[in-house]
């Protein structure tokens, strides 16, 4: 008997988890955040239900600050696959003029991401939401179950997580409770890129190096994606060859200088890199346990 490869095992495990949700939850949704993890998740979801289509919609929580190329990629990809996409924005937040540069990353993340996500989940009464988060991303994620139970208030309680032995997922819940489900829990960043290469999965061009207009600010290279980013005194826009290791809201996502314009190039760069992928994310840096805190408040 030929052993399944490492990636084949991860793939089978993820497909099993995805189908388990379809079989036991009433109203699932796929949180599609356009990045590479979402790309892999979407690919796996397509496989899990082939030759049919996924029996649930996709949801994108649009903070209005995503890179324009992300939105273009999203729309092209959804049209190509013929899927149903729900785009949700926290309209009260938008009306209140929560401006990332003015109000800061903390308020922005809370209002435009966490609150927005909760609004959308409540509005459509989703009882299970797939996310592409991986345990290797962050140390509180490393502690999270694959089927992560949330209270009716969307809170995560890290101290009372259900045991999850073998493949026996306990998907029972009471009205109002829901699950965040993470099929890529056991994947690493390297696995994701290896799989993207192996399966030829389309990803947003921002992952590949190209000369882009960037501003050096707070120790990061921020790409000026639109005019909402006003230049501070002494700041200058430079064209530099950069790419992104993770994708989020453009003012919060640092670019890395790179010439890697091919998949093999970025995989080689990742393997020799000495910093973690989330280093380029501003929101992760407000204090040690901050991700755990955000998750308890309902963040993904």
């Amino acid at each position: 008997m030929i052993q399944l490869t490492h990636l084949q095992k991860l793939e089978a495990e993820a497909i099993h988890i995805i189908r388990e949700v379809a079989a036991t939850c009433e109203n699932p949704v796929l949180l599609y955040s356009i990045g590479k993890d979402s790309a892999v998740l979407l690919h796996l979801v397509m496989k899990a239900f082939a030759p049919g289509k996924p029996p649930f919609p996709l949801l994108h929580v649009d903070t209005t600050w995503k890179f324009r190329e992300m939105i273009a990629f999203r729309d092209a990809r959804i049209a190509e696959l013929g899927l149903e996409l729900i785009v949700h924005t926290n309209e009260e937040g938008r009306a209140a003029g929560v401006n990332l540069f003015a109000s800061g990353s903390r308020l922005h993340t809370d209002v435009m991401k966490t609150q927005a996500l909760r609004q959308a989940l409540d509005k459509y009464k989703f009882d299970a939401a797939f996310g592409g988060a991986r345990r290797d991303e962050e140390r509180s994620r490393a502690k999270e179950r694959i089927f992560s139970m949330r209270s009716p208030e969307h809170r995560w309680d890290p101290k009372s997580q259900r045991p999850e032995p073998w493949r026996l997922f306990n998907t029972r819940k009471r009205p109002g409770e829901s699950f965040r489900v993470f099929p890529l829990s056991n994947w690493t960043e390297a696995d994701v890129w290896d799989y993207v290469a192996l399966e030829k999965i389309p990803v947003v061009p921002l992952y590949f190096a190209k000369p882009r207009p960037v501003v050096a600010r707070d120790g990061m290279l921020i790409m000026r994606d639109d005019e909402r980013m006003a230049l501070r005194a002494g700041e200058e826009i430079e064209m530099r060859s950069v790419r992104f290791r993770t994708l989020g809201c453009y003012p919060l996502t640092g670019a890395v200088e790179s010439n890697a314009s091919t998949l093999s190039g970025i995989i080689a760069e990742m393997r020799s890199s000495r910093v973690s992928e989330r280093q380029g994310r501003l929101i992760d840096h407000d204090g040690g346990a901050s991700m755990e805190q955000k998750k308890q408040e309902g963040y993904f």
């Binding site: 490492h6 497909i15 049919g52 190329e69 890290p158 493949r167 998949l263």
Partner: protein, 533 residues
């Protein structure tokens, strides 16, 4: 199409040789150094990026147990409560790789209170590293964890005798602990126990052999982990077991049964049957992750299309035609009770394979983790391990855990609170001394009727068998007629009539039975199961 596809055709990516994956856990008593050891493994294999290392330095000063030195356990103890108390509460999964292998490691908590989290980590492991503090030796918790590890089928253990730096790297201490561990776990059925003297804190015998243990003849831990063979016994390639997870019916033209192959392999044309019904058919096609395929192997997530319009739903199991997997309601097993509330046996749901059912639990003995002796009892405390009998309200496709890691495993869920209260393994299906529990009797009766009235099931009868007894019968009639009438043509006619009439009557019987039972085909408990809510 304007989708920005970013794969230059010439960008041929050199995929590394598919490294085998090793899933292992660290376990053992409180503070023996499990998290520190994993931190050390991550650190020594270069899996800790610089930015995490920088925060580790800061964290070590703030929460660390090692003064100003690095506290590697903080790489793994990721919850705020864990860092404040310097203990592990829940399992952490971490990932690292060397040029030779990829690893998924689960760091489990040592405190007895969190035993269920330890068991969760153990259930998927190929190998366990059991830590022992060299100053303390084998403790009750070391035995409990060893028992759980053995119960969930881990056959290879590494006993890392840790904190050797605190006992002057004394060979005598090492040998004494190794001997006492061996003696303590003699009956647990481990295939291989490897003892390694280590200091997780300093890194001795982890990535390379230590100069402080010149007496140690074995290998360094990472070297061992990279090369240990944990491949499961290859299942008979003619066998197949696939619990149906989800029925894929995207349109009127396609009906497939999705699931993960638990045992053996599937191939197009294979004769299969569906349990519990026993209906036989053949695999018409296989949709795998790669598209359509002519075969698929164990652990692959597939969709099987069957030749006949057979009825199968979530929880049924598609098995190879000759598979003897029993369909039963009662089984004996061992379990770990994980709830703060004592096991009452009431209001429980058993979850097994891809199905759930109401179940009654009777506890027979509790197993003492120190002596492994068994005491008769009818209740189990939290973290108690015991032998039990479980009666399911509906028939399940069962197997013993030693033969089948999927169908042989189960959990119990409290019907009221939805809490997962126990995890266990099946030791015996349909045990002989079945006491006449009412659930079993009440539900057996209609089954008995059905079996007596049911037509001989062609699906459980091979063509050769069917023909042979009909030919024998026809021959006997021919012979009797020949004796009675002494006329050859009458005798032959009688024989032929017997043969033909039997076929006609059989078809009529079959039809009548089908009509009579048609309305009962839907198992009422299926509804209770399907929703999962």
């Amino acid at each position: 199409m304007n989708a920005p596809l970013n794969l230059p055709a010439a960008d041929i990516f050199p995929i590394a040789a598919p490294a085998a994956l090793l899933r292992f856990i660290t376990c053992g008593s409180v503070d023996d150094g499990k998290s520190t050891l994993i931190g050390r493994l991550l650190y020594d294999t270069g899996a800790v990026p610089d930015d995490q290392l920088a925060s580790l330095h800061a964290d070590s000063r703030r929460f660390g147990t090692q003064g100003d030195a690095l506290d590697l356990a903080l790489l793994v103890d990721g919850l705020a409560a864990e860092r404040e108390q310097g203990i592990t509460i829940d399992v952490a999964y971490r990932y690292f790789s060397t040029p030779r292998r990829a690893f998924i490691v689960a760091d489990t908590p040592g405190h007895e209170q969190y035993t269920r989290n330890m068991a969760t980590g153990a259930s998927g492991a190929d190998l366990a590293i059991i830590l022992v503090d060299a100053r303390k030796g084998v403790l009750a918790q070391t035995r409990r964890h060893s028992f759980i590890v053995s119960m969930v089928g881990v056959r290879r253990v590494v006993v890392a005798i840790n904190k050797m730096d605190l006992v002057g790297f004394d060979e005598g201490v090492f040998t004494a602990i190794a001997n006492s561990y061996r003696a303590a776990t003699r009956h647990l059925g481990f295939e291989q126990i490897v003892f390694i003297p280590v200091s997780a804190l300093r890194g001795d015998n982890i990535a390379s052999l230590s100069a402080d243990t010149p007496w140690y003849r074995g290998r360094a831990l990472i070297d061992y982990l990279e090369t240990v063979d944990v491949s499961a016994l290859a299942a008979d390639p003619a066998s197949l077991r696939m619990p149906v997870q989800w029925v894929n019916r995207p349109n009127a033209h396609f009906r497939g049964f999705s699931g993960t192959i638990a045992l053996g392999a599937a191939h197009v044309g294979q004769d299969v049957k569906i349990l519990p019904s026993g209906r036989r058919t053949r695999i018409a096609s296989i949709v795998t992750a790669l598209g359509e395929d002519s075969s698929a192997q164990q652990d692959e997530a597939v969709t099987l299309v069957l030749e006949d319009e057979v009825d199968a739903s979530r929880g049924d199991v598609i098995v190879s035609a000759q598979d003897e997997a029993p369909v039963a309601r009662v089984f004996d097993g061992r379990l770990l009770w994980m709830s703060e509330r004592a096991a009452s046996g009431q209001g429980l749901i058993v979850q097994q394979g891809m199905t759930t059912a109401n179940a009654a639990l009777s506890i027979r003995t509790q197993i003492d983790v120190n002596t492994f002796a068994e005491q008769p009892t009818d209740s189990l405390p939290v973290n108690g391990i015991g032998r039990v009998r479980i009666r399911s309200e509906k028939p399940l496709v069962l197997a013993t855990y030693s033969q089948d890691r999927t169908l042989g495993a189960f959990t119990l869920i409290d019907r009221l609170t939805n809490e997962t209260v126990a995890l266990g393994v099946i030791d015996e299906v349909n045990p002989a001394d079945l006491p006449q529990g009412h659930a079993a009797v009440a539900r057996k009766a209609p089954d008995l009727w059905r079996r007596l009235l049911a037509p001989a099931d062609s699906s459980s009868e091979t063509l050769a068998e069917a023909l042979s007894w009909r030919i024998v019968s026809a021959l006997i009639v021919t012979l009797l007629a020949a004796v009675a009438t002494q006329t050859a043509w009458i005798a032959l006619l009688a024989g032929a009539a017997d043969f033909a009439l039997r076929l006609v009557l059989r078809a009529a019987h079959r039809d009548a039975f089908k009509r009579a039972t048609a309305l009962r085909q839907v198992d009422p408990e299926q509804n209770a199961d399907g929703g999962g809510i």
